[in-house]
Structure formats: C-alpha cells, structure tokens
C-alpha cells in the first residue's frame, strides 16, 4: 500500500478533481507491466545528453514506442518559458479526455477548463524544472465528463541540456468487478 506524497483536491461548482502524486518507488511497484511501466522502461533506455537527460527525436519516438503505448501518449513541447504556451500533440488517434478536450495539437491555455489547464501547466513546469519523471493518479469530473487515470510525465532533453518536451502517458483506472458489485 502506497500513500501519495502530495494530494490536491479541487472543487469548483460541479467540477471536482483529486490529483495525487506518488513517488517513483511507488510508481515502479504499482505500474510494473502496465503501459506506463513499459514506456518508463523505454524512456530509461534512451541515450542521455551530457546533463543526464534522455534525448529522443520524434521519429525515434514513433519508431521506438509500441502502437499500444502511442495511443496513450502525447508529447508536450516545453520550449516556451511560459507553461501556458506549452503545446500538446497527440501521438495516437485516440481522443484526449485527460485534457478535457477532444482536439489535439493545442496550447495548454486552450484547454477549456482553466483550473485544469493551470494545474497541468504547473505540473509540467515542475517536471521541466526538476528534470525528473512525475507520477500522478487523477480522478476528475470536469464539464460533466468523468476521467480517472494514472499519468506519467517524462522529461526529454536536447543536446544543450534543456528540457524541450515531456512525454505524457495515461492509463485509465478502471473500477474492479468486485468494487462494482459492492455499489
């Protein structure tokens, strides 16, 4: 059993969200064998630049990650200093309910729910500054749409050592049959 190291609960009208951040030790334990665990292993296997950050081109990413992984992945371009101008690009054809929008290739500020957009911006900015992976479990209802997912943020660098993108991978958290039966 793991406890989150940070918990954020937000309510605004009928919207609500619970965002829990777990340690990477907890991540390794909880996500062994899942799509998040596999992408993390892929990220760890990438070549590193002088500052220790993994480096990967878009081409290498699309060739290296499996089809199953890519559908849950988006790439967030973090070259802007302003986190609201980070650009989200979907890797697969799946819609992106975790951004509360069905459209891809948008700036963070274009996410329809501003509270959610700002939370995502701050989490990505923290990942960029910390230069390390971040693992969250997020349970939210925004605009009547419910999403419950585990999410991994993985920073990727360039040759100069800056974090230029973040791989954003989600895994839907499904209620177990036993839990459903008890409802």
């Amino acid at each position: 059993m793991h406890s989150p190291k940070e918990t954020v609960t937000e309510t605004a009208g009928l919207d609500e969200q619970l965002r829990e951040q777990y340690s990477l030790a907890a991540f390794r334990d909880l996500e062994q064998g899942t799509v998040l665990g596999r992408v993390y292993e892929f990220w760890e296997s990438l070549p590193r630049n002088d500052s220790g950050l993994p480096v990967i081109s878009d081409e290498h990413l699309f060739n290296g990650a499996t089809e199953d992984s890519l559908q849950w992945m988006s790439v967030i371009d973090t070259q802007s200093d302003n986190p609201m101008e980070f650009v989200i690009q979907a890797c697969g054809k799946r819609q992106l309910p975790e951004y509360c929008t069905d459209t891809a290739d948008i700036c963070v500020i274009d996410i329809p729910c501003l509270f959610h957009a700002i939370q995502l911006a701050i989490e990505c900015l923290t990942c960029k500054h910390d230069r390390s992976a971040a693992y969250h479990v997020i349970n939210q209802t925004i605009g009547g749409r419910r999403s419950h997912y585990a999410r991994l943020l993985l920073p990727v660098g360039d040759a100069e050592g800056s974090v230029v993108k973040i791989l954003h991978i989600v895994r839907p958290v499904r209620m177990s049959v036993k839990a459903k039966e008890t409802l």
Binding site: K5, E6, T9, E10, S80, D81, T126
Partner: protein, 172 residues
C-alpha cells in the same frame, strides 16, 4: 460556504493548505470598510477605462494611499514568462516563521507547495485580468497562518499584465 467559487486543498508531507477562492460579493461584504476594501477602491479609482485595470505609471499605492495600509502592499513583477521567476519588489506582510520574499523570485520560496499554489493563483489572475480574493489556511513548516488575500492586476501601456499587487489581512 456561500461565496466559494473554488476550493483547493493540498497536502505535501506535513505542509497543508486550504485555499478558498471567494466571490467579490463575499469580498465586498467582508472588506468594504477595511484595509482590503480601501486597497480595492484605490485600484478601481486608478483603473484605465479601456484596460479595466490601472497602468503601471498610474498605480502608486505606496505613495498615494493615505492610510498606513499602503505599507503592507506586496508588489510582484510578473513580466517573466516562467512563474518561478516572478519577482517580488517588496514582501512586507510575511509573518513570523514565514519566508521573506523581498527582492527574490517566487521560485526561491522554500515550500514547493506554496510556489505551485501562488504560481497557479497569479496565472489565473493574469489570464482572466481580474482581481482575485482568497481565504487561505496553511501550515508550512512549523508556522500556521489564516488570512485573506486580495490580488489585483496592473498593466503596461499595451495592456499586458506586468504587475500584481496584493494585500492580506490576518484572520482572527
């Protein structure tokens, strides 16, 4: 509670905070005759009709507000794109056990929880170009605070929000 637009509750290790984003009905009913009400009135009186907020050259609360409340106003330079680099000109309201941010960056604050929450609040105020009013209960390290905070945007001549000015009132 009436007037709560949004509630943000956060736990990080032993640090804890509960931030209530309150309506301006609530702000007026609570602060009308107090220092935060006076601060809002001053901001409003200097607001540019087209921008909906004062420009930086017309907003000098420390020089122009008559009461001693003006000494307790914090000014934050938000021109840097990265919220961690938002710069505090002055931070007179820090309380015992809390961190003085005068002439420091937001990212210099020792509490990551506080950095992230302040960055989120400031971004919200900048993007919406509206004042924000919060009631905040927090424990950071060994220190506890319960206060209300009124933050007001200030623009440059082009209308870009370049400063935030805020004042707090400790709650009994």
């Amino acid at each position: 509670m009436y007037g709560v637009l949004r509630r943000h509750e956060e736990q990080s290790g032993t640090d804890y905070q509960d931030r209530l984003f309150l309506s301006f009905d609530k702000m007026f009913s609570r602060e009308k005759m107090g220092p935060l009400g006076e601060f809002f009135d001053y901001w409003k009186s200097r607001s540019n009709e087209h921008l909906g907020m004062p420009t930086i050259d017309s907003f000098r609360p420390k020089d122009e507000m008559l009461s001693g409340n003006s000494r307790a106003i914090t000014l934050v330079d938000v021109t840097n794109s990265d919220p961690a680099n938002f710069m505090f000109y002055s931070h007179p309201q820090y309380t015992r056990g809390f961190f003085d941010l005068s002439r420091r960056r937001l990212g210099d604050h020792p509490s990551r929880m506080n950095i992230k929450s302040c960055a989120a609040d400031y971004l919200y105020c900048m993007i919406n170009r509206q004042p924000i009013y919060h009631e905040i209960i927090q424990t950071i390290g060994d220190a506890n605070r319960h206060y209300v905070r009124l933050a007001l945007p200030v623009a440059d001549k082009t209308g870009r929000v370049v400063n935030l000015a805020y004042a707090i009132r400790m709650m009994p």
